[in-house]
Structure formats: C-alpha cells, structure tokens
C-alpha cells in the first residue's frame, strides 16, 4: 500500500514537471479545450433557454385568443361565443375589450409602459380569450371558429410551440455536431502536445522499460499532464462562460420578457451543472489525448 502510494506520488510529480516543461505547447492545448468548452457552454445555454421557453409557453398559453373585427355585430359576437363554448376541452370563454387589453399590456410592460402613452386611439382589437384544458384541444376549436363572420385573426400558440421545439432540436443537433468535431480537434491537439514530451523522453522511457517500470508508471505522468491541461481549460471556460452569461443575462433578460414574456435560465441555476460537465469533458479530452499519443510508444 505504502509502495503504491510512493509510486503514485512519483507519477503525479512527473506529471506536473512535464506540464511545466511543456508549457508553450500546453498553451495551445489549454486554448483549444477552453474554446471547445465555451462553444459547448453557449450551445447548452441555448438549448436550456429554448426548452425553458417551450415549457413556459405551454403553461402560459393553453388558450386561444380570437381577435374580432371592429365593426362586428352583436349577433355575430354571440354566435362566436356560442360556437367556441361548444367545443370539448374548453374551460371558459371570456370577452376582453380593447380597453382591458391595453391595461394588461401596460401592466406587463412595467416601467416601459410610458411607450404606450403615445397612442391617441387604442390600436388593440376586442377579443375572446378561450381557456383550454390543454394545448392539444386547440386545433379543433380553431378549425371551428376560424371561418366565422366577424373574426379578424385567431391567435393560437400551438404552432409557435411546435416551431420552438423544432428550433430546439436544430440547435441541439447542430450544437452537438459542432461540439463533437471540436472535441476531436482538441484531442488531436493535446495528443500532439503530449507527443512532444513523449519524444523528448523517449530515451528515459526506454530505460524505464528495461528496469521494469510498468506501463502504468510510464503512462501515468503523461496522462496527468494531459488531464492538467484539460482541467486548466475547464476552469478558464467555466469562468468565461459564467461571467459572460451573467453579463448577457443582466443586460438582456428584462427586455426579453417585455418582448416575448419569457425569461432566460438564470446563471446561478446553471453554474454548478455546467462546472461538472466542463470539468469532466476537459479532463476526459486531456486523458484521451495522452492515451492516443502513447499508444504507439507502449506497444513497441
């Protein structure tokens, strides 16, 4: 046990020495890992935010808004309400006048509400708000109501959600492909960096083999060197993504809510998971890079 520990201590020491001796090329490795992880971070944040938007939208908008023409007759109004109510899954049909709509909008816009003061006449239409049990009932209601007289537009969130889901899938797919390519590239860069140390120490490795060093003993320092490069890259990218996103979040989040009534994922909720992901991927890239460059030397 003590013997194992001494061997381990030796290996770690040599790993640090190797990293220091090789710091020039190491910079390239750290840089590439940092870049990969930052891009991965951006992709992850985009995916999470879109998912967030999808979920929030689903909850908020299990309703249909039927905008009415200004010159609608009372009979038409009653008929539309009747038709809407008849459908399966409809909880309630509420009439919202243009004045009410403007009030709600002012509330939503909060401190930016002064922007709405400029209108001389209220530009918003009257509407019915049809509350549904769930978004899945929307289609049948929309189909029935759409063709009726006196309706200007039926606003309907299902297609938006579908588009969002589709977009989320594209972002996820594209992001993962880009990340995978970059991971391969950085493994290649790391393996080249380590190869330089390995070549420089080729003589020593040979002698170590003759004296009876195990492959683990020979391989260990190089793997530690690679893992250290990966770790440094991970820490750098965590800092950059964390502070970068925080800044972005603070500048953009409020405006985003005004425009789309959604929030971004708060940075605090992200940082822990992101750190775990980054550190494991960074160290994984480092270890793999080393193993790739060592394979040739150890089988000889």
């Amino acid at each position: 046990m003590r013997m194992k520990f001494r061997i381990f201590k030796n290996i770690v020491k040599q790993g640090f020495q190797g990293m220091w001796r090789n710091r020039g090329m190491g910079l390239a490795s750290v840089g590439s890992i940092t870049a990969v992880l930052i891009i991965l971070g951006i992709v992850l944040i985009m995916i999470l935010s879109i998912n967030n938007v999808v979920v929030e939208t689903k909850n908020k908008f299990d309703e249909i808004q039927i905008f009415l023409e200004d010159d609608i007759t009372d009979e038409q109004l009653d008929y539309i309400e009747e038709q809407a109510k008849e459908n399966e899954g409809v909880l309630s049909v509420i009439y919202q006048s243009k004045e009410q709509a403007l009030e709600i909008m002012k509330e939503d816009w909060g401190e930016n509400a002064y922007l709405l003061e400029g209108f001389e006449t209220n530009p918003l239409p009257d509407s019915f708000i049809v509350k549904l049990k769930g978004i899945e009932y929307a289609d049948s209601v929309v189909n029935k109501v759409q063709e009726l007289e006196g309706i200007d537009e039926v606003k309907y969130y299902k297609d938006i959600i579908e588009k969002l889901v589709l977009m989320a899938n594209y972002v996820r797919g594209g992001g993962l492909i880009i990340t995978a390519i970059l991971i391969v590239v950085s493994i290649f860069i790391i393996s080249n960096t380590i190869k330089i140390t390995v070549t420089a120490r080729q003589r020593e490795i040979n002698i170590m083999k003759y004296v009876g060093a195990t492959n683990g003993y020979i391989r260990g320092p190089f793997i530690i060197e690679g893992v250290l490069f990966g770790l440094i890259g991970a820490v750098l990218s965590i800092l950059i993504v964390n502070y970068g996103y925080r800044y972005f979040f603070n500048t953009v989040n409020d405006k985003l809510y005004v425009l789309f009534t959604v929030y971004l994922v708060p940075p605090v909720a992200l940082i822990k998971d992101l750190s775990i992901i980054f550190i494991s991927i960074g160290m994984g890239i480092g270890a793999l890079g080393s193993l790739v460059s060592l394979k040739r030397f150890l089988n000889a």
Binding site: M3, I7, Y210, V211, T214, N215
Partner: protein, 231 residues
C-alpha cells in the same frame, strides 16, 4: 535459472534468427554467449527480456514459463533480470546517484532503502567518489560501471550484459570484467554476449557459441573459437 527448449524465432520480415535452440543455464553460472554478428545472440537476449516472443518452443526463467505472458506481466519479469548494454544508456540529466536511484524509484522502493542500497552498489563498482557527477564528466568505463550498478541495485537473480566492453579499451574492459566477476561471485547468474576473444579465453568460463541461429558449441571453461573450427 534460464532454460530454452527447442526455441525457434522467425521475425515478421521472414528472417530466421534462431532454429531449435536448447540451452540451460543454472543459478550462479557465468556464461559467455559468442558468435559472429547476426548469429542470434541479440535474439536470445531479446527473448529473455520479453522484447520478442519465440515462434516455437518454450522459455523458462526461474522455473516460470515466460513463453507467452501478458503485456502487463512483462515489467515484473524484467525486474528479475538486470541488463547492461554496449551504449550504457544513462540519463544525461541525472547524476550517477540519481541514475541508480531511478531504478529503485520505479518499483516503489522505500526512500530509506534507496538511501541504503544506492551507496552500497556504488561502492561495489568503485564509484562512491563520483556519486554526484553527471554522466558527461565520466569516462567510458565509469559509464559502464554506473549502468552495472543500476542493473543490480534491485538485486535481480540474473544479470545480462550485451557487449558490455564493446566500446571500451582493453584495460577498461578488464575493469568491467572484474566487476562482473565480483557480482557473479555474490551469486548472481551472469550471461554476457561478447565479441572479445581475449576476455573469453582468459576468463575460462562456460562458452555457448552460436552460428546462423544454431548452437554449435557449449562447453565448460571454453574459449572463444574452437581450434578445430578455426582450421
């Protein structure tokens, strides 16, 4: 100690290096392996060190079958066999002391043990005064003595020397031979591949002669060339 049973070796490029070699070296023996270049001396050493696997036959080391062993077991076999090469193979950036200690660090020896054993072997090869010199401050013979110290510091039962005097002048060569003889007297089995006719003739040890991959002569207290084959 070392046993070859019907060992043949054919390299991947088709060269037949050994054919049907049988040899048995007992504990405590001092054996010269002689023969022209390319006869198969190096192949025999490579087979013992598990740098190569035999194509046919069986190899035993310390009564253990090492014909086919898993890669991760090889280091443990090599710890039982000290090796010395013609080109010394020292680490230039380490002192004499560190070069020898290195071999003990690799196998996880206790620092106390390292501090005790390294000076001991250095005095055995008469290099105590040069312990803190770097290899480029040493003569050829001193180089080789450091290499020998490194090879025996972990007390392997077998010491293999591949042309250990090949790069040395005759006087220094004898210095090395005396060291090897001392090590042998302490009980270590020594197998030495060499071209040095005068050394072999004067030492009067067992001689195994190999030619074109076959053992052509194996005699106690032998000489480099048999007079009959000389004619």
């Amino acid at each position: 100690m070392i046993q070859f049973v019907n060992v043949s070796k054919e390299y991947k490029n088709g060269v037949k290096a050994l054919s049907n070699v049988n040899l048995s070296i007992e504990k405590g023996e001092f054996v010269f392996l002689v023969g022209p270049s390319g006869a198969g001396k190096s192949t025999i050493i490579k087979l013992i060190l598990k740098e190569e696997d035999p194509t046919e036959g069986k190899i035993y080391l310390n009564d253990m079958d090492i014909t086919k062993v898993k890669n991760r077991k090889i280091p443990y076999i090599r710890r039982k066999v000290g090796v010395v090469f013609q080109d010394f193979r020292l680490l230039q950036n380490k002192t004499v002391y560190e070069n020898v200690a290195f071999a003990m660090e690799i196998i996880g020896a206790h620092p106390k043990e390292i501090r005790r054993n390294v000076p001991m072997v250095l005095s055995m090869v008469d290099l105590s005064r040069k312990a803190y010199c770097y290899p480029d401050e040493l003569s050829g013979g001193e180089h080789q003595r450091v290499a020998i110290a490194r090879a025996i510091v972990n007390s392997p039962p077998i010491l293999i020397a591949d042309e250990p005097t090949g790069n040395l002048d005759p006087e220094t060569a004898w210095e090395i031979m005396n060291v090897l003889r001392d090590i042998n007297r302490r009980g270590t089995t020594v197998l030495m591949a060499t071209h040095a006719k005068d050394i072999v003739d004067i030492m009067k040890k067992r001689v195994i002669a190999i030619e074109s991959g076959k053992i052509v002569r194996d005699e106690e207290k032998g000489v480099y060339e048999n007079e009959i084959s000389n004619i």
